[in-house]
Structures are given as C-alpha cells and as structure tokens.
C-alpha cells in the first residue's frame, strides 16, 4: 500500500506523534520559521504558562513585514514597528532562538530566506505564522501557514494539532508559451479552481510543466496555493531540487548529503500514487494573466475581455459587480491599456533573483513612464547582493525604478511602502484584496514581474510579449 501513497500522506505519517482526543493528529514540525508580526503574542503565551521553546535550534527568526525598505536606521520612525523589532529581539534572546536581524546579510522575507539557507528540505514538515508558508512545498515538504496560537504550540511542543487534509493532484502538462511565467500558471490554476476550491485539500502540483520549472518558479507556484484555498501545496522532489540544495548553509554536507538526496528522491509520489481528487490543465492554454478584481481568482489573459457579469453563476453576480465597481472597470473590458500609477516588483511570491532578471530584461534600455512610481524590492539581502553583482540594480535605476532594501514592502500595508488614495498598482505580489496595499481604496492588478516591468514602462497594462 505504501508504494501507492502520495508524498503528502507518507510525510504526514512519518511525522505523526499520536492521535489526539479530538481525532486530530499531533504532527511533529521539523522546521519552524517566525517573524516579527505573528510571534510576539505567542512568546507571551509561553511566558504566561512558564513554558520553554522545546527545540530552539529548529526555529529560525527573521524580520520582514514591518521593516522600511528605504531608511532602515534604528530606531524606526514608526514607533509601533520599532516596538515590534525590540520584541522579537528580546524574545529570541530570552528563548534561545536564532534571529537573522537587519545587520545579518542573510535577512529577508521569511519564505525567501528558508530555501536560500537550505532549511527548507524535502520530506520535512514546516510551519510559519504566515499564510504564504505554502511556498516551501516547492521542495516536496509539507508546509503550513498557521495562526499565533499555533505558533505558540510549535514553539512549546514542536508539534501542532491538525486534521489530515485530502490531497488533490493538480496536473499541468506541456510547454509554456514565451512570456508566460510561473506566476501566470498559478493565477490560471486559481482562476480555474476558485479561491475556495482548495479548502480541505493539499495541492500536489505535478506534470511536465512543473518538472521543467526551476526551484524559484516552483516556489512562486506553491506560494499562492493559499490563494486557491489550499493551506498547503507541494511539488515532488527531483534532481532540480537536489541540485538547488547542494552546498547551502543548512543542507546536509558530504556523505550525509548523498544519503539525504537518495531519501528525498524516493519520497516523490509514484506514477500509480493515489489521490482524493485529480484535475488536469494544459500549459498551452495559459496566457500572461492579470487580475481585474478583488480576489486572486478574478483574472483574465492580458488580451482577453473580462467576462460579462451575466455569465457568472447567479449567486456570484452581485459580488462580481461590486468588484468591478471598486476597481472602476467594466464587464467585457480588456485589461490591456488600463493606466497604472504604481509598479511593484518584489514579495515572497516574486522577489527572487530570477524574477529580478526577467524584469530587468524588459527594463533594460527603456524608461519608466513619467507618471508611474516604480519600486524593485529584493526578497532578501542575498538576492539584493546577487542582483548588484549582476548589475541589475543599474539597469533598474537607469530605467527609473527605485532600488530598495529587502523586505515585504508594498505587498501588504505594514511598512512605509503604501498606495495612496485610489492609486492603481501593477504588482508582482499575491493579493489584490481591497486595501491590501495600504490605501483602503487602493487597487491592485496582480501579474508576473516581467509584466509589471512592461506596465511600468508603458504606464499602462501591457503585453510583455511585445517587449521581449
């Protein structure tokens, strides 16, 4: 039977400590990542109960959400942010957790740092108080976003209580068209399966399209599993995974690495593995995709008109019209040509070196439209250093982009990088929710980093394929 077990169930069983009174599984968490926003209350819960961190060496902390990406001098101008910085510094010191702080060149967005350092490995379980923890599934591990109470659970017991989800195989096969990126693949999947299609499921992304992807592309796909409702998404480990992990600081070394690689490769779901549900999509159907609404499933191809409201299911039509009204878009309108005010390249979805390279190819030798404020925010200090070594920052600056320090920046409204008023932003981030980018009435169009660069230059949503 175990031969037909998919990776998810095999890893789940391996980490099962016991079945709890409620019927949930007490699941061992191999790697815990924390950041400044969702951890202070959790440490306080431990303090209130006189508990210690059970495996301090299996939790790593960094700072990302609240940090400014321009002036990072301490104390921060924002005193609330400064208080959170002090809290994570104090908590990590008191409980013996390693903190990659601003003065550490390994600091960055938690979901970029984990893989970069080799902490994210196949076959482990990983948790973090952040819904985009699904990112780490790109390595063939089980990675869950959790709330603050569960952060306390993992700190104190290295486990958490969880019901076993079902597993859906989301198959995508074939070669992507030029100008179509991993971001377009996941936006397409969410459009097809809906924002709540994945509730109760872990998604296994499988098929030749994912096989051909780099690790960074796979991370972009898994990152947005949660936007389709799936708390966890993963891709089976293969030689690409092994090659990425070789030589990373926290990867096994020497003979241990060879033993690890053998185990990792064996974990992958076999061709006859069983799933609770399967869907199949074709890479050839995917276009450069842009969202038009207020959730990540509300998207269309860049040259495709938004559907007529009447073509949506009756119970959704009111919400669709409200989304169009908020965005000041009309049914049957095409996104191409919609004027933008801000362009944001960065985030845990698309703030990696390959994302910056793709965007730089578009920016090179061109100029950002005069009315557009354009930001490039590397996902980590190491990404930033690599980009500078390759001269990408010079390309961006020459084109009129601002070149910033590493952090979450304009993906969410917790640091000084925010939309103002009704501004409309072409964004490589993950959420187009109302108010997400810092202005309650601000508007977000999600797209790939290359498409954001194209929009910055055009001053309006553009088709990146015409600029390649």
């Amino acid at each position: 039977m175990s031969g037909r077990q998919n990776l998810f169930n095999r890893v789940w069983d391996l980490h099962t400590v016991r079945t709890m009174a409620s019927g949930q599984t007490q699941l061992f968490i191999g790697q815990h990542l924390i950041h400044e926003v969702t951890s202070p209350q959790a440490f306080q819960m431990l303090r209130d109960r006189g508990l210690k961190v059970m495996f301090p060496e299996r939790t790593l902390a960094t700072v990302d959400h609240i940090i400014p990406t321009d002036n990072q001098a301490r104390p921060f101008h924002d005193l609330l942010a400064e208080e959170m910085m002090s809290a994570i510094e104090r908590n990590c010191r008191e409980f013996g957790v390693t903190l990659l702080n601003l003065n550490d060149n390994r600091q960055g967005i938690v979901h970029i740092v984990g893989p970069e350092q080799g902490l994210t490995q196949p076959g482990i379980t990983l948790a973090c108080g952040d819904s985009h923890t699904s990112t780490h599934g790109a390595f063939g591990c089980i990675a869950f976003g959790i709330g603050t109470s569960q952060v306390a659970d993992v700190l104190a017991s290295q486990t958490m209580a969880l019901g076993r989800p079902k597993v859906r195989r989301v198959g995508v096969d074939g070669k992507l068209h030029p100008g179509v990126f991993a971001k377009d693949v996941i936006l397409h999947i969410i459009r097809k399966l809906g924002v709540q299609g994945g509730v109760g499921f872990a998604y296994e992304f499988a098929g030749s399209t994912f096989d051909a992807m780099t690790m960074e592309e796979r991370m972009t796909v898994c990152n947005m599993s949660i936007e389709g409702g799936a708390r966890c998404g993963y891709i089976n480990p293969d030689q690409t995974t092994v090659d990425y992990l070789r030589g990373r600081p926290f990867s096994p070394q020497g003979a241990e690495f060879d033993r690890a690689a053998k185990w990792w490769l064996d974990l992958a779901s076999k061709p006859d593995a069983e799933f609770d549900h399967k869907v199949s999509l074709q890479a050839a159907d995917i276009e450069p995709t842009v969202t038009w609404g207020i959730n990540p499933a509300q998207s269309v191809g860049v040259n495709e008109p938004i559907g007529a409201v009447s073509t949506f299911p009756a119970e959704e039509q009111k919400g669709i019209q409200e989304a169009l009204d908020f965005m000041e878009l009309k049914e049957l309108q095409k996104l191409r040509g919609v004027k933008i005010d801000v362009a944001f390249i960065g985030s845990c979805t698309n703030g990696r070196i390959s994302d910056l390279r793709e965007a730089a190819k578009i920016a090179e030798g061109r100029k950002v439209s005069p009315h557009v404020k354009a930001l490039v925010v590397p996902g980590s200090q190491l990404v930033r250093a690599q980009a500078e070594a390759e001269g990408l920052h010079e390309i961006f600056k020459a084109a009129g982009f601002q070149w910033r320090e590493a952090g979450c920046s304009m993906c969410l409204a917790m640091n000084p990088d925010k939309l103002q008023g009704r501004e409309i932003c072409a964004s490589s981030s993950n959420r187009n929710f109302k108010g997400r980018q810092g202005s309650p009435t601000g508007r977000t169009l999600l797209m790939s980093p290359a498409m954001v660069a194209a929009a910055a230059i055009e001053g309006a949503v553009a088709d990146v394929r015409e600029m390649m």
Binding site: H15, M20, G23, D130, T148, S157, R259, A260
Partner: protein, 198 residues
C-alpha cells in the same frame, strides 16, 4: 477549558462572500505586540467606505453572533482577525463556509464557527435585518442554528466539535503533555538522524 455548547445572542448580518482577513482587520493594526484594542478596528476600512456597514449600525450594537457568506476569513493567517471580532463582541459565527486557517484560529480561541447552506444564510440575514432584537442560538450538541421560527441544521468538522463541546480546545496544554512521544518521533525522522535510517 470551559465547554462551548451553546451561544445565544443577537446577530449581526454580513452575508458577503470571500471576506478576507485584511478586510476584517487592516494590516496597519497588526503593528502591535498584544491583541488588545483590536475590536474597535474590526472592518475599519469597509466601514469608512460604507456608512451603512452593519458593524456601525446601532441596531446591531451588542450582537454576539456573526452571520456571513462563503469562504469567510480567507487570505492572511493573522489571528488578529478572530481576535478583533471577539474583542468587538462576537462569540460565535455562522457562514456558508470558512477558510481553513481562520477556522482553526477561531477554534483555538474557543469561538465556534458553524456552516449552514447559502439559503439558510440568506434567511437568517433577512430575519435578523427585519428584527435585530431576535436572538440567534448556535447549538453545538445538536448541531442546529435557531432564530425565532427558523431552525437550520449546521455542520462543523468533528474534531473542532469535540474539542469545543468537551472543553478540550486548549491544544497547547494537550500537545505539551505528549513530550516523550514527541521525542520518540524525532528519533525516527531521517533528517534529524543523519539520514542513516533513510
């Protein structure tokens, strides 16, 4: 922990789909190191743009049951969202469905979230809008939602139902109890043992 069996109180209707946690509590209010004071900021941005938002409507002041649509609480894992609702006064939620992380966060805080059909949401919202004084009961032992003459079956995952109704929703205490079994599990994990057993 206290058993959570029945919640009865006036309700506030918010029968919209896909309400994300950024809307429940805008991110700028996550710049804090405790959950205190979040209640007054629940739905703040929505309220600023809609003078008739139910959370500002005096008729629903003091309500303790929230009636919502499909996929309530989607998006960010922030526990600040249920914490804000609880601090506003919410003690139970009824919706067509809930996002998973949000649901778990509510259960960890002893707040029952039950699912009813889309039609039941519509009828409950209409009844509460017509008479905001009418009490709504979420009855976990019999898995029922009642409001005046209306009565609907509701659902809840068995694990959350059992945790709440038996008063065993303090997961931290239970998890910590199993320390020896946790260590035993760690001993058999290949990556914690040099991959020699792999």
């Amino acid at each position: 922990m206290q058993k959570v069996e029945q919640v009865t109180g006036r309700a506030v209707p918010l029968p919209l789909d896909d309400i994300d946690t950024d809307r429940i509590i805008p991110a700028r209010y996550l710049r804090c190191v405790t959950f205190e004071g979040l209640g007054e900021h629940a739905f703040e941005d929505d309220r600023q743009q809609d003078s008739k938002h139910p959370f500002d409507d005096v008729r629903y002041k003091g309500a303790s049951v929230l009636v919502a649509g499909r996929n309530f609480g989607c998006g960010s894992s922030r526990e600040h969202a249920p914490q804000a609702l609880v601090r506003w006064g919410i003690k139970a939620m009824i919706a067509e469905s809930f996002a998973e992380i949000f649901f778990g966060n509510c259960t960890s805080n002893g707040v029952p979230c039950v699912c009813v059909t889309a039609d039941a949401v519509k009828q409950l919202a209409a009844a509460v809008t017509a008479n905001p004084q009418v009490p709504v009961t979420v009855d976990l032992p019999v898995l029922e939602v009642r409001c005046g003459n209306l009565k609907f079956a509701c659902t809840m995952p068995a694990s959350a139902h059992s945790s709440l109704t038996t008063g065993q929703w303090d997961f931290l205490a239970q998890l910590v109890e199993a320390g020896d079994e946790v260590l035993a599990t760690a001993k058999k994990l290949p990556y914690l043992n040099g991959f020699v057993s792999a």
